[in-house]
Every structure is written in C-alpha cells, then in structure tokens.
C-alpha cells in the first residue's frame, strides 16, 4: 500500500489537516489577546513619553488612560500622537527613525505644544548590543530627554551629546556610536518635521 501513488499524498493531507486544524483553532482563540498585547506595548510607550503613565501597569488600566488622554493626528502626512489635556492639545509625540550600530532604531520623541521643548523619548524597536548600546532603552538614559529647551538651538542641533561642548545629554559610556546615532536621528528628523510642517 505504501508504494501506491496516492497513499503518500493522502497521508500528507491527513497529517496536515489534523495539525493545521489544531493550530488554526489555537490561533483563533488567542488572536485577540495577541493583538491586545501588541497594542498595549505601544500605548504604554506613548504614555511614557508624555510622562502620564498610570500607577499600575495593568494592560486594561493602560488602555483606559490611553483612550482618555491620547489622540492620533496627522500633521502634513506625518502620523503623530497628541496628549489631550482640558480638551486641548498639550503635547505631541513625533516618530523618528534612523540607523543604529546593528540595525535601525525606531522611536517617538515628545514635544510640548509650542514645539519649543523636548519632553521625552521612547524607543519602539532597537537591536543594539544589550548592556552597551542597548542601554538607550534604560530610564537613566531616556530621562535625560525630559524638558530640554530647544528654542535657541543653533543650526538645528537640538540635542548635543557629551563630550561635545554645550552638551545637554550624556552619552552612554562605551557606546559612543549608538549614542551619536540617536542624537543624529533626533536632530535630522526634527528638522525635517519642522520644515515640512512649518509648525515653528
């Protein structure tokens, strides 16, 4: 029987049907949870940029806070998130990206409503060396970006990383390349944003 032409094909079909049925059912049951998880992560990060994270990090809590305070908005074809306070737009999160040391870095940077201050940063994806460049995702680095005045910045150099003179952010020791990549992408993308939207 094993030598007939049809047996192997039918056998393969039978095995496939059984396994795919199991997989498809499992996936069907869990799709919503997975999608919710993925959204939840982004929500948490956006809330972090505006420094308005709810005290407990229960996903449902985060979703409520996000729905209440954050709106999505398009400024000149650029998708940004806005923080709504007292029914007014109080701050913006602008997407930025650029090459890191190992792969591209995607992030959002927070600006106040007059676009005169950087109020926070969060990295969505990055593949820098853990413990070195990867430390850009640690609070100690990110918190340096709270409240940086960029109104008087010369030549579009909003962020200046140490050890450059007049620095407003400390680079990560041992990860100079990643640090300068982050600075470069902030400065370049903010310039493009300001020029194309004319908000300033």
């Amino acid at each position: 029987m094993k030598n007939s032409l049809y047996y192997p094909i039918l056998f393969m079909i039978a095995v496939t049907v059984v396994f795919i049925a199991i997989l498809a059912s499992i996936n069907y049951m869990l799709t919503d949870t997975i999608a919710f998880n993925q959204e939840s992560e982004l929500r948490q990060k956006i809330l972090y940029i505006f420094d308005v994270l709810p005290e407990n990090d229960d996903p449902q809590e985060i979703k409520r806070a996000f729905d209440e305070k954050i709106k999505q908005k398009t400024i000149n074809d650029i998708e940004v998130y806005t923080l709504i306070e007292n029914n007014q737009e109080a701050a913006y999160a602008v997407p930025i990206n650029g090459p890191g040391l190992w792969g591209s870095i995607n992030a959002y940077i927070g600006l106040n409503k007059d676009f005169t201050k950087i109020i926070g940063i969060e990295f969505i994806t990055q593949s820098e060396t853990p413990g070195l460049g990867g430390r850009i995702s640690e609070d100690i680095y990110k918190n340096q970006f709270r409240n940086i005045d960029i109104e008087g910045a010369a030549d579009g150099n909003y962020i200046i990383s140490s050890p450059q003179p007049g620095s407003n952010v400390d680079a990560i020791a041992g990860a100079t390349q990643t640090s300068s990549a982050v600075v470069k992408m902030i400065n370049e993308d903010l310039n493009t944003f300001f020029e194309s939207t004319g908000v300033r």
Partner: protein
C-alpha cells in the same frame, strides 16, 4: 523603513551581519564540516545555492499566499516545508542527471535541511520587511558570508597543530574558541554598512 540598496545589503550580510559570527546560525554543520578546506567549500556553495533559491520561493509564497489570507503565523511551517521539499527534490535531480555535481556538492544536501541559517534568512527577510531585490541580495550575501566563514575556519583548523593543544580542548572546544575570536574580529566591521 529606510530603503537600502541591495548591493549594500550583500556586503552587510557578508561582513557586519555575518550569519555565523553575528547571528550564530548554521553552527552545527559549521563545526562538523570545517575540518578540510575542499569539503568546507563544497558545503558552503551548496548552502549558498539552496539559500538563494528557497528564500526566493519563500518570499513569493509569503507575499502572495500567507499575507493575503492572514496566515503569517503559519510561516514557520510553510517555510520549512518548502526548504525540506526543495532540498530533497534537488538531491534527486542532481543524483540522476548531474552525477559529477552530485558527488561534489549533492552529498551535503541532507545536512542542509536542518541548517538553521537557511530558515533564518527566510525569517529575517520577513521581520526586516525587505522587498524582492533586497531579499535576493540578502540571501546571496548571507550565503557568501557563510561560505567565507566556513572556509576561513577550515583553513585555520587544517593548520592547527593538535599536539600542542591540551587534550581536553582538542576538537570542538578549540573550534569554538577560534570561532569566538573570529566573531570578535568581525565586530570590527560593525557600523561599516547598514543592513536595514
């Protein structure tokens, strides 16, 4: 996503993101078959060929079938089935019609199905959202990078004087240490070209 020239991707895949030295994929056959240079080259060429063809097949199936029907979560199954079937078919065809090629390269094919580098390329192609030309460049580059790595390793191992190495370190452990040192050397390429 930043658009990257496929040619640059080839170089990046060979040096900065070498499959073996920065992603550690395909290590099993790398360690087992890196004793002699001719064998290493034979395996390297087979890997490059299979990698290129299967990645293209997988690219086509992924975008025309899986994405259209929302079946991305099943990509592992489809990718590995295509690789397994292709390798087996190729082996049969080579054995029948091109015996010389079969005797020099085909005999390594059974080792390739379970080579994680091949599946790895298909998975990275998806996570990095490459277009067709970039995928092609990435597959070819990774194959060459793998070939380069295994040939270099075979070259070093064939010159290694086993007698001067402590007994317990001979064979696999010393190979691992050399690979580690080579990997550190390849870190030097980082930042040279970007892959994404």
């Amino acid at each position: 996503m930043i658009e990257v020239n496929p040619i640059i991707i080839i170089f990046a895949a060979i040096f900065t993101s070498n499959m073996i030295f920065s992603n550690f994929l395909g290590m099993c056959s790398f360690i087992a078959v890196s004793k002699e240079i001719p064998t290493a080259i034979g395996l390297g060429i087979s890997v490059t060929m299979v990698m290129t063809v299967t990645t293209i097949l997988n690219y086509i199936i992924y975008w025309t079938v899986l994405v259209r029907f929302n079946l991305e979560y099943l990509m592992f199954i489809i990718f590995i089935l295509i690789i397994a079937a292709f390798v087996q078919l190729l082996e049969m065809v080579l054995e029948r019609y091109l015996p010389t090629l079969y005797y020099s390269l085909g005999i390594f094919l059974p080792l390739i199905t379970v080579n994680c580098a091949i599946l790895g390329i298909s998975l990275f192609m998806v996570t990095r959202q490459y277009n067709f030309m970039q995928t092609l460049g990435y597959a070819v580059g990774s194959g060459i990078g793998w070939l380069l790595a295994i040939t270099a390793m075979a070259g070093i191992r064939s010159r290694l004087n086993e007698k001067s190495i402590p007994e317990g370190l001979r064979g696999t452990p010393i190979t691992l240490i050399i690979t580690g040192i080579m990997a550190l050397a390849f870190v030097g390429f980082s930042g040279m070209v970007q892959i994404q």
